[in-house]
């Protein structure tokens, strides 16, 4: 229940030893009762409140007494009151003149003694005001203004309560307001220009949060908020999300546990985290449904549903690193642990991306290394050392061979080099000294390369010769064609005469 004034009443009399006033309804269990009393006898009057239902009253602050107007005021309260019919009595100890009693039941408040204030404004004013400072919220302030002149009072702050039509010509008015902030709370009234006496008490609402120690509970309904997060310095933190339209509740616990439960969210965010140096993450408009958990110590768990994630990120331990990804459809869950264990289990993903890594990788095929074994005037080249070793084993003298059942089938060489052919080519290309050097080398790989070069040169020379022959033949043909054209030009006048002679015969 929110703090509120549940009921209130007033009574005034000309000259009394005591005044009693009953609440018209039973008091609610746990309520506070705020009592305000005035009297016109003297400043030494002692105010004493009691009731017939076990109320334990204490005066709040000191009483005030306006000697120019011969009127004083005091207030007090009983906390955590028992339920039931209650009649409150104020006893002045003497026949107090112009006595008053105001009783207010304040429900939904704690049993903490309220912060309070008492004020005597002896200089005439039309806007009397009083203030007190609360350190917890929500809270409810209850105030009363008592004027020394005739005329109605209205409340500028809060809600007006009940009016007091005093016997002495004094008028009074109660006011109250539930506040949800801490700090100075003021109650201002408006009335005739005269002197005023005011009192104020601020009661802490029961069940309110904001405590430095103790516990806090938050329960929220379906909201449209944003964000969800849980962090725990020690202990555990867990977030579980269902489907919502972003809403949330947050919980943070320095020690102990914190839990957040959220409904379906639509989240768009950008963030950057860097231990040292700089890191940046830029995300586009994403539709992310998920949960996250971070734990410095203890455990962290993330459980995600089917997400659609479009993101790019970069992370580098030392130096620079960049990752650029296209729009992917990623579904899964992940976990990270600085120490301890970490497990990632992902569902069906379609990652697409590009990346660089330090080190060197040489594509196979272009300069493949071969391993040679010489057999007489031939060199057998194999792709692997094991194949070459097997070939050497097969060439061992019979006595050194392994038993039949341990023999392996000799591998097929990838290439065979015929040394007489190589020598012929080397001689033709004036490369015999180099060939002799390579023949005495520790392996035959360079010899194989040299042979390939000789072959390439020979192929080039052969194709060059063929091309030269083709060019020479084409030149001869062109010369013959030119000779015929010149001969035809020389015969052209003679042919013209023969043509004229033929026409004359007809």
């Amino acid at each position: 229940m929110s703090a509120a004034v549940l009921q209130e009443r007033t009574i005034g009399a000309g000259s009394t030893l005591s005044l009693s006033l009953a609440f018209e309804a039973d008091v609610t269990d746990g309520s506070a009762i705020h009592v305000i009393s005035g009297q016109g006898s003297n400043a030494d009057v002692v105010y004493s409140w009691s009731d017939d239902n076990g109320g334990d009253y204490a005066q709040l602050g000191s009483s005030t007494f306006d000697s120019s107007q011969q009127q004083g005021i005091a207030h007090g309260c009983a906390l955590d009151h028992a339920a039931g019919a209650t009649t409150v009595t104020v006893d002045f100890g003497e026949a107090a003149l112009f006595a008053d009693l105001i009783v207010r039941e304040i429900g939904g408040v704690t049993s903490d003694t309220p912060v309070h204030a008492e004020s005597l404004l002896s200089t005439a004013t039309t806007t009397p005001s009083i203030a007190a400072t609360n350190t917890t919220q929500p809270a409810l302030w209850s105030a009363f203004a008592y004027n020394a002149g005739y005329g109605a009072i209205t409340a500028t702050d809060g809600t007006s309560g009940i009016s007091l039509d005093g016997n002495s010509g004094c008028d009074g008015l109660t006011a109250s307001e539930r506040v949800t902030s801490t700090g100075s709370q003021s109650a201002t009234f408006s009335g005739p220009s005269t002197s005023y006496q005011l009192v104020m008490a601020i009661f802490a609402e029961a069940g309110g949060g904001g405590g430095a120690t103790g516990s806090a509970d938050i329960t929220e309904g379906a909201d449209t908020v944003s964000g969800a997060g849980a962090s725990s310095t020690a202990g555990s933190a867990a977030i579980t999300e269902g489907h919502d339209s972003v809403s949330g509740s947050g919980a943070t616990s320095t020690t102990g546990a914190a839990a957040i439960t959220e409904g379906a969210d639509t989240v768009q965010a950008s963030g950057a985290v860097g231990a040292s140096g700089a890191a940046s993450i830029a995300e586009g408009s994403d539709s992310v449904v998920g949960t996250g958990a971070t734990s410095t110590g203890g455990s962290a768990a993330i459980t995600e549903g089917h997400d659609t994630v479009d993101a790019s990120g970069a992370q580098g331990a030392v130096g620079d690193a960049a990752i650029a990804e296209d729009a992917d459809t990623v579904s899964g869950s992940g976990s990270t642990a600085t120490s301890g264990s970490a497990a990632i289990a992902e569902g069906h993903d379609r990652p697409q991306g590009s990346g660089n890594a330090t080190g060197s990788v040489v594509p196979a095929g272009r300069h493949r290394r071969r391993y040679g074994v010489r057999v007489g005037e031939r060199i057998l080249l194999f792709d692997t050392p094991a194949q070459a070793q097997a070939a050497r084993a097969a060439l061992q003298p019979r006595s050194a061979r392994v038993p039949r059942h341990l023999r392996v089938v000799p591998p097929v060489p990838a290439e065979i080099i015929d040394l007489p052919t190589v020598r012929a080519l080397a001689e033709q290309q004036h490369q015999l000294p180099q060939l002799q050097t390579l023949e005495s080398g520790p392996d035959y790989a360079p010899l194989a390369v040299f042979y390939r070069e000789l072959q390439l040169r020979e192929q080039l020379a052969r194709s060059t010769r063929r091309r030269m022959q083709e060019l020479a033949a084409r030149e001869l043909l062109l010369q013959e064609r030119e000779h015929r054209r010149a001969l035809l030009q020389q015969l052209q006048p003679l042919l013209s005469l023969l043509h004229e002679y033929g026409r004359s015969l007809h």
């Binding site: 009921q7 209130e8 009443r9 007033t10 009574i11 005034g12 009399a13 000309g14 000259s15 009394t16 030893l17 005591s18 005044l19 009693s20 006033l21 009953a22 609440f23 018209e24 309804a25 016109g40 107007q69 011969q70 009127q71 019919a85 009649t87 009595t89 100890g93 003497e94 026949a95 003149l97 112009f98 009940i162 009016s163 007091l164 039509d165 005093g166 016997n167 002495s168 010509g169």
Partner: protein, 128 residues
């Protein structure tokens, strides 16, 4: 407009209890009531001594059930007309406000308890 609900004749009352005196029905919507009382010069003096008390009960069901409403204990005189005590008086008032205004079956009943013999009398009227 006020309505007089009960009249207590002004006379000398010996110590004892008088009543209860049940009023007529209050005006529906009445916001409270007022007791006008009067005495004479024989009224006891002595600021700390209780002379009489006047207790009022309320019924909202025509008198079937009653709840305490208010009570006043008067001490000895003198009484004054104003806070500055410039003028003494032999009359006074008690004003009581309701939280819940009177209904059509609201009644009051008053009981006078006299501790010290005194002359007293008065009326009880509701407040609009």
């Amino acid at each position: 407009m006020s309505q007089t609900l009960l009249t207590l004749p002004q006379q000398l009352y010996a110590p004892g209890t008088y009543g209860p005196f049940v009023t007529a029905s209050l005006t529906p919507g009445a916001t409270g009531y007022r007791v006008n009382y009067a005495t004479d010069d024989s009224y006891p003096t002595g600021q700390t001594e209780a002379v009489l008390s006047y207790a009022v009960e309320r019924s909202d069901d025509g008198g079937a059930t009653w709840r305490p409403d208010a009570a006043v204990t008067l001490g000895g005189g003198p009484w004054y007309t104003d806070r500055t005590r410039s003028t003494q008086t032999t009359s006074g008032q008690i004003r009581v406000g309701f939280q819940r205004s009177a209904g059509s079956n609201t009644l009051l009943r008053a009981t006078l308890t006299v501790y010290r013999a005194c002359t007293i009398g008065g009326t009880l009227e509701d407040l609009p």
